[in-house]
């Protein structure tokens, strides 16, 4: 026995000490296997993602209609409006609030084109403004008289916003249910005597659904041989359908449940979110983020980046699968730097200058959109809309200084300024398209692409037809309040 063990030990050590040279060619074959596998995994993931989207968007269309789904129950409209108040901030003469800015350096009226120079806020040096459009886009001039009436252009930017909503069922108990949800939520079928029977086959349920729709009441209620599970399952569903106008009691897993006498199916059939199942209006809170592509001024891109959006929405049921939504949103445009704008009060031997740097713009937006729900359970919708933007404020700072000849600036002072809006269009319009997915009765999300239609900046002072537009996308979460 000892020799036997030693025999094995010798073999073991010999084989595990065996040196086998590495084969590079075999690694190439291995690499191919690994790459192929990962590529196929990616393909499968894309396929699944595509299928998921397809299912979200329109899969339900292929599911037979459930009777009573579009029942004409007289759910009245619950028109809940939300107050929309936009507070317009006073703009224009804000330079007067700054003692420096309000100085009237009489007799130094200058032509705007010759004076105004965009300044890079990083080094306070004038940008290259060889382009006429650049000058037009960025300049602000106060011709000596800083009363405000000559103030022009401060670049701004914006975005559009849109609100959307969830709709809530007014039917207390789930009403219409598509067969898919029935299948998903039906663990056990049962005969009419209340004996539970395993229901293992989706086909059985499908058949049962069809039978339910077609079967005659008497036939359905007639006794079914208890030996056939399939027949029992079919029979029970048929019975449920048949009793839709009356009231029948059945036992589900030993618990009494009443099959309602009207169109609504048992509550257990209604687990799947069917948010927009009635003629209902909704009030919602929307919150999300927005990416703005910004616009270009010379070589500088402004307003590009992510911003915050918050708002309230009101959704009105139009009929069938159509909804109209409006609301009010507040959003900001950041990343306005590095351009700044000069308010040059006087030139000559001594220059009194004010530089305005706008860092952020604030908008109120009024979106109006129409959305159409694809499929039966109203979980996905697509839509288009438009939004009116109103510029309500900005934030940034102003720097004043005095400069003599080419000497360094003196008496440099910096002030916070949150009201100067000149140079930007007060009203803007955008259009957008969107996709919405409903997670639950309360939550849904929107993904939308928008494009501004009008001009963000007001360049009319210079007569240049420069258009600054932005486009981007929004990702919003919406929460139903009712």
């Amino acid at each position: 026995m000892k020799n036997e063990k030693k025999f094995y030990d010798i073999l073991n050590s010999k084989f595990y000490e065996r040196e086998i040279p590495f084969d590079e060619d075999n690694w190439k074959a291995m690499r191919g296997i690994i790459d192929d596998s990962r590529a196929s995994k990616k393909r499968v993931l894309w396929l699944l993602a595509s299928l998921f989207l397809l299912l979200c968007a329109g899969g339900e269309l292929f599911i037979p209609k459930w009777s009573g789904r579009d029942g004409k129950s007289a759910n009245g409209y619950t028109n809940t409006s939300i107050g929309v108040s936009s507070k317009k901030k006073e703009t224009g003469n804000d330079t007067h609030s700054n003692p420096k800015l309000s100085l009237n350096h009489a007799g130094t009226s200058l032509s705007s084109a010759s004076i105004n120079t965009p300044v890079d806020s990083n080094n306070n040096t004038p940008l290259n403004t060889s382009s006429a459009s650049l000058k037009a886009a960025n300049n602000i001039v106060i011709n000596g008289n800083v009363s405000g009436q000559n103030t022009k252009d401060v670049s701004l930017y914006e975005k559009n916003s849109h609100s959307r909503h969830h709709v809530k069922s007014e039917n207390g108990i789930g009403v219409a249910t598509n067969p898919a949800s029935v299948q998903a939520s039906l663990p056990v079928s049962f005969n009419q005597k209340g004996n539970t029977v395993d229901n293992k086959s989706n086909d059985i349920v499908k058949n049962a659904n069809q039978n339910k729709l077609l079967a005659d009441k008497k036939d359905q209620v007639s006794p079914v041989p208890s030996t056939s599970k399939t027949t029992q399952a079919t029979s029970m569903l048929s019975i449920k359908a048949a009793t839709s106008s009356g009231a029948a009691k059945s036992t589900v897993h030993g618990t009494d449940s009443v099959i309602a006498g009207s169109e609504p199916l048992p509550q257990r059939f209604s687990n799947e979110p069917r948010v927009f199942q009635g003629k209902t209006n909704f009030v919602s809170v929307d919150i999300g983020t927005e990416y703005s592509g910004g616009w270009q001024i010379g070589s500088v891109v402004q307003a590009k980046g992510f911003n915050f959006v918050v708002g309230a929405g009101y959704t009105h049921y139009l009929g069938s699968k159509w909804f109209l939504k409006t609301g009010l949103q507040f959003n900001t445009f950041g990343n306005m730097s590095p351009l700044t704008y000069n308010y040059q009060h006087s030139v000559g031997h001594v220059i009194y200058d004010s530089v305005i740097t706008t860092q952020r713009l604030y908008f109120l937006r009024l979106p109006v959109q129409v959305e159409y729900f694809v499929g039966r359970n109203k979980k996905s919708s697509i839509g288009v809309g438009g939004a009116v933007w109103y510029l309500v404020g900005s934030s940034g700072y102003a720097t004043t200084y005095q400069q003599t000849d080419n000497n360094p600036p003196m008496d440099v002072q910096k002030y916070t300024q949150n009201t100067l809006l000149d140079g930007y269009s007060k009203v803007n319009v955008s259009a957008y398209g969107f996709y919405r997915y409903v997670f639950s009765r309360k939550f849904s999300m929107y993904i939308m692409l928008y494009s501004e239609l009008t001009n963000m900046k007001d360049n009319t002072f210079f007569g240049d037809k420069i258009i600054e537009k932005t486009s981007g996308f929004q990702y919003m979460l919406s929460y139903n309040l009712n």
Partner: protein, 188 residues
């Protein structure tokens, strides 16, 4: 074989260079297993790649505090057993009798074995019948118990014992044939 934890974690991140390094480090070890369970080198390479792919895809399941060598050994063996099962068309209904003859090995046989080259030993093992060969490899070299062998190869434990003893006896005979001096010593 020394495999650094960094290589394993990099492989989990699907780092191509780490995957190459792991393959290079484990190649000899895994190949030595595969060669014992396959008919030729090409099949062994094929099995090695199959096993290594399973190792790569299951690396997340490996617990760093345990022996990596033992883990990849187990994965490789499972791969080989799975392939064996796939190829096995029908179950072997032959019931081998357990009452095998106890062999009393000579110390000199073991001494002769020590002096033999591993390739020579391998050449002897592959001369054994397929199932006996597998049982012998699994028990004598890879440390499986008869119960495990029985489960893996779908045979009874008694049959496994029979194959083992048959293999050992045959191997010893072959070793003696290769080393006539041993025969003289045993006879003497």
């Amino acid at each position: 074989m020394k495999v650094e934890t960094e290589i394993i974690t990099a492989c989990i991140r699907k780092d191509g260079r780490a995957e190459y390094e792991l393959y290079r480090l484990t190649y000899g070890y895994l190949m030595s297993i595969c060669l014992r369970y396959t008919l030729n080198r090409e099949e062994a390479k094929e099995m090695l790649n199959l096993g290594f792919f399973k190792i790569l895809t299951n690396l997340k399941k490996y617990q760093l505090e345990t022996s990596f060598t033992a883990w990849i050994h187990r994965v490789m063996m499972n791969t080989l057993i799975d392939e064996y099962r796939k190829k096995k068309v029908h179950k072997d209904h032959i019931k081998y009798v357990e009452d095998y003859e106890e062999i009393h090995e000579s110390t000199d046989v073991n001494n002769a074995l020590i002096k033999m080259d591993v390739e020579q030993i391998h050449a002897l093992i592959v001369k054994l019948p397929p199932v006996s060969q597998k049982v012998f490899n699994m028990y004598a070299i890879d440390g499986f118990s008869h119960k495990e062998i029985a489960g893996a190869l779908d045979i009874s434990e008694g049959t496994s014992r029979w194959h083992l003893n048959f293999s050992r006896k045959k191997l010893q005979e072959m070793i003696i044939q290769l080393n006539p001096n041993v025969l003289k010593l045993v006879a003497g």
